[in-house]
C-alpha cells in the first residue's frame, strides 16, 4: 500500500503539472492512473472532475464530483464543479442547489478568494432558472392563445354556414359579428402580454450600494447599513473601514441580514429579470 500510495501521489503531481499547462487530456490520464493506485484519493477525483469539466465530459465529471462528496460532503470545489456541469447539461434546478451549497461553504469556511467566483456562479444559475421558467410561461401563454383563437374561428365558420340560407346582408352581418369577437379576444391577450413589458423597477433598498445589483447575501454593518457580502468583504480587505461612516470595520463585524435576504430572494423569485438589471 505504501508503494502504491507513493506512486499515486507522484501521478497526481504529474497531473497537476499538466493541468497547470492546460493539457487536460494528459492531466486526466494521470489522475486516472493515480486512482488505480489509490482508489480513495479524494484530491485526484476532484482534480479529474475539473479536467473533465474543461473537456466537456459533463456526466463523467459529475461522477467524479459525487465520488469526492461521498468522502467529503463539505468539499467546496466538488459542489461548484458539479453545479457547473449540471448547468452545462441544462439541469438548472439541481445546478442552483449545488451553486448555493458551494457559496454557503465558501462563506462558512472563510474562503474569501472564492467568494466572487461562487457568488457569480450562483447568480448565473438563478438567472438561468428564471429564464427557463419565463420561457415556459410565455410559450404556454402563446399556445393557449392559439388554441382559443382556433376555437372561436371554428365557431364563426359554423355560424356563417348556418346562416347560408339567409340573405347576403344577413351572412355579412354574421361574419362581421364573428370578426368583432375575434378582435376582442386578440385584444385581451395583447393586453396581458403588454403587462409583461411594464416598466421594471427595483426597490432601492434591495440594491447593494457598491455593485448596484440586487443582493443575494446581504450582511449588515454595525452602523446599520447592508451590503452584498462579496463587495463589502472586498472593500474591507482594501480599506478596513465602513464605506459610509469611515469607522474601522472588520469582516467579523458583518452579520447576515436575514430579513433583507428574504426580501431580496422573494423579489428575485417574482422578478427574475432583475438578475440582469
Amino acid at each position: 500500500m505504501g508503494d502504491n500510495g507513493a506512486r499515486a501521489e507522484r501521478l497526481r503531481q504529474d497531473g497537476n503539472e499538466h493541468f497547470r499547462r492546460r493539457n487536460y487530456t494528459a492531466a486526466e490520464a494521470c489522475y486516472s492512473q493515480a486512482l488505480v493506485n489509490d482508489p480513495n484519493m479524494t484530491a485526484a477525483y476532484a482534480n479529474r472532475a475539473m479536467c473533465r469539466f474543461f473537456l466537456a465530459s459533463h456526466d463523467a465529471s459529475i461522477t467524479d464530483c459525487d465520488a469526492v462528496l461521498a468522502r467529503d460532503p463539505d468539499h467546496l470545489k466538488a459542489h461548484y464543479y458539479k453545479s457547473k456541469n449540471l448547468l452545462a447539461l441544462g439541469n438548472v434546478d439541481e445546478a442552483s442547489t449545488h451553486a448555493l451549497l458551494a457559496y454557503e461553504m465558501c462563506v462558512a469556511q472563510g474562503a474569501d478568494t472564492s467568494l466572487r467566483m461562487t457568488k457569480e456562479h450562483l447568480f448565473v444559475c438563478r438567472k438561468e432558472r428564471w429564464d427557463v421558467k419565463e420561457r415556459r410561461r410565455r410559450a404556454s401563454a402563446r399556445a393557449f392563445e392559439r388554441e382559443m383563437v382556433g376555437v372561436l374561428e371554428r365557431e364563426i365558420e359554423r355560424d356563417v354556414l348556418e346562416a347560408a340560407g339567409g340573405s347576403e346582408a344577413e351572412r355579412a352581418a354574421v361574419r362581421e359579428e364573428g370578426n368583432k369577437r375575434l378582435a376582442d379576444l386578440r385584444d385581451v391577450f395583447e393586453r396581458a402580454r403588454a403587462k409583461d413589458d411594464v416598466k421594471r423597477e427595483v426597490p432601492e433598498w434591495l440594491i447593494d450600494d457598491i455593485t448596484y445589483n440586487v443582493m443575494l447575501d446581504p450582511v449588515i454593518t454595525p452602523s446599520g447599513r447592508s451590503y452584498e457580502r462579496e463587495s463589502i468583504t472586498k472593500f474591507i480587505e482594501k480599506a478596513g473601514t465602513d464605506p459610509t461612516t469611515r469607522e474601522p470595520l472588520a469582516k467579523s463585524d458583518l452579520k447576515p441580514n436575514r430579513v433583507l435576504k428574504e426580501a431580496c430572494s422573494w423579489f428575485l423569485d417574482e422578478n427574475g429579470w432583475a438578475y440582469d438589471w
Binding site: 457569480e120 450600494d209 448596484y212 463587495s231 472586498k234 469611515r246
Partner: protein, 160 residues
Amino acid sequence: MSAGMSGRRLMKELSKIQNDGLPPGIELVSSGESDADNSDWLLDIRVLDDNPLYKNQVYRLRFRFPKAYPIEPPEVTFENRPDRPIPMHPHVYSNGIICLDLLGSQGWSPVQSAQSVCMSIQSMLTSNNKNERPEGDEQFVKMNKSRPRDIQFLYDDNTV
C-alpha cells in the same frame, strides 16, 4: 466573467443618469462608449451661485475608472480646453490635478459615484473665495510625473 467589476457598475450608473438625469450644473458629455478600451467619462460642471471666481464658466472633468472601481477610486482631473479653463482653487493645481480627500485611496468610499463626486467638486468650488493655486503649484506642475492617485497629498487645510 468580465475582467473587473467596473463594467457592470458603470453601465448601471449610466442608465441611472439616463433615467433620472443629473443635478443642476452637471452634464454628462461622454461616457467612453465610442472606444471599448477607453472607459473615461467626461462631465461638465458649473457653479450655480454668483461666486465671482467661477461666474459664467464651465469646467470639464475627466473620470478614469480603474478595473476595480468602485472598490478603488476613479482618477478625476480638470481638463484644459479653449472654452474650459482650470478653475482657480487652493486645492486645484494648474494642470488640472485635484487634491480632494474623497478621491484618495484613504478617503474613497465605494458608495460614491461619478455623480456624487461631481457634486462634491461643485460644492468645493462653491464654498471657495480664495483666488489662488495650491502652495508650490508651479514646481509641482513642472516636476510631477505620477498619476494623481499615486500622489500623497496633505489634507491638512480644512478651511477650504
